[in-house]
Point group: C2
Chain length 289, copies 2
């Protein structure tokens, strides 16, 4: 992750925001692995002590994220788009809840992409996505995204292969446009194991307060687990770019997942280093009676 | 214009729609000319007889256009996007009024792109454009378009050269997406001469009913005429594609302009050849009491 430096001192005005995270980022890159299926879904250290440390780190990182977002908004020049993808029960909603808890709601714009409506289907698949991109100064969050059009659409055979295959090129072009015009993009695959998914689905069935979340279709999609891993691997490889990198987040442990995402977003904002605008006024020359 | 055939008989169901236009299309392609500045702005024949013929042709073509649009809507599978660009007073509004007069308003969606709003400027320049693309079965009309972001933006120096120059690639990607996902695109440059523009501006000043249309800024843009011709030439060359071709329409004579645009759109729809859907019902087996 060379593009997200650790240099908190790049904040050239206002108080510098101190870096808090550890030396190395927790988020993983696909890099040389043949498939996301080979990548860890567990935290490297699952001891109680590690869990406690992660929670303390996450608390500190939440404060930093809020500070950086305030600067991004004040600067009013660029945007940050966070794309969240995961298998069912992978923790997209929980991540959004836990990561952005301290951030000013005015500065965050979350969009959820469910099955397309009749109106959506009447246009190209990027139409509804483009409509939801963040405005200047905002952090946009995509809860699912245009990637479903090369993931679930592919796995379920909703369009022929030549149709989903050419979509990688559309997506590269779309993200290039966003980046060139001032949006930093970070794409996260919350990576859980198949066994972890079984436990989470069972928990939904067992808990009367969670039962409403249970969906038959989740079981059908679970049967295609390997196809999904192949589709994720291809999607990540085809659309990974310096201006729109993909990260794989081991997500079996929520405390590790949340800390990892917070760490990554803070690093990204440190690298963007948004600045408070220069005031045009010299306060020593202003007399207010 | 090899991609828009003349084969009215390709309408495989319903009554075939008879082709009406002349043997060769009237619309011009930039092709080997060095610049649009070298291309004709006048009709090839400006006699009264030619004018009369053009008007009769336009009347017949309007009927064909309405018939084809009805099929496009019934088929409910694809879309047609017509991009209209011109110098000020070039006749965009008049063309839309005269060409689509007979077409069912439900099947047409016109969008006008004026100076971007604060909200527009908070996103990339294609955001507001993508939002306005036609839905399935519709003919979309862009009155000005994303091309202003490489025309007026370039000529007036609103962004640095490296910013407008990389936009050609964004636009190619955007139009590729639309085409791949089912939208036929036709791009028209209504081409008037500088002398013709002077007369039209003068007419706006002289006629108290047209004076509201007069805008000081039109005079400022007129000073950049040669820069605009260079910008149009580059934009056409950089973004001309089989799925999104550019046509230059000699537009000094409105009767020639309207007939030329009608002829082009009818040819395009003939080539798309939208079909009435097959009914699932065998009417001979239905008894309605």
């Amino acid at each position: 992750m060379s593009q997200t430096g650790r240099n908190g001192s790049r904040a050239k005005n206002g108080q510098p925001i101190e870096p808090v995270a550890s030396d190395r980022p927790y988020a993983l890159r696909l890099a040389d692995q043949r498939s996301v299926a080979e990548m860890p879904t567990d935290a490297p250290d699952r001891s109680d002590a590690a869990k406690e440390r992660a929670r303390a780190e996450a608390d500190a990182l939440r404060g930093r994220l809020a500070e950086w977002q305030e600067r991004l908004y004040a600067e009013h020049h660029r945007r940050l788009l966070v794309v969240l993808q995961a298998m069912d029960t992978g923790g997209k909603d929980g991540t959004i809840r836990n990561v952005f808890r301290s951030v000013n709601a005015m500065g965050v714009k979350a969009a959820r992409f469910e099955a397309p409506t009749r109106d959506d289907l009447a246009r190209d698949y990027l139409w509804r996505v483009h409509a939801q991109v963040p405005a200047t100064g905002q952090i946009g969050i995509f809860n699912r995204s245009h990637y479903e059009d090369v993931l679930t659409v592919r796995v379920n055979g909703l369009v022929p292969e030549h149709v989903w295959r050419r979509r990688y090129e559309h997506i590269r072009g779309f993200e290039r446009l966003l980046a060139d015009e001032g949006t930093r993009i970070v794409k996260l695959f919350l990576h859980i194991g198949r066994a972890e998914q079984r436990e989470r689905l069972q928990a939904r069935l067992d808990d009367p307060h969670k039962r409403w979340k249970f969906d038959d279709n989740d079981l059908r999609q679970r049967e295609h687990w390997d196809d999904y891993m192949a589709a994720y691997t291809d999607a990540i490889r085809e659309t990974d770019a310096p201006h729109a990198p993909w990260y794989v987040i081991p997500a079996n442990q929520k405390w590790h997942r949340d800390r990892t995402v917070l760490d990554l977003l803070v690093r990204t904002l440190e690298d963007m280093a948004p600045q408070y605008p220069q005031a045009d006024v010299d306060p020593s020359r202003v007399a207010i009676d």
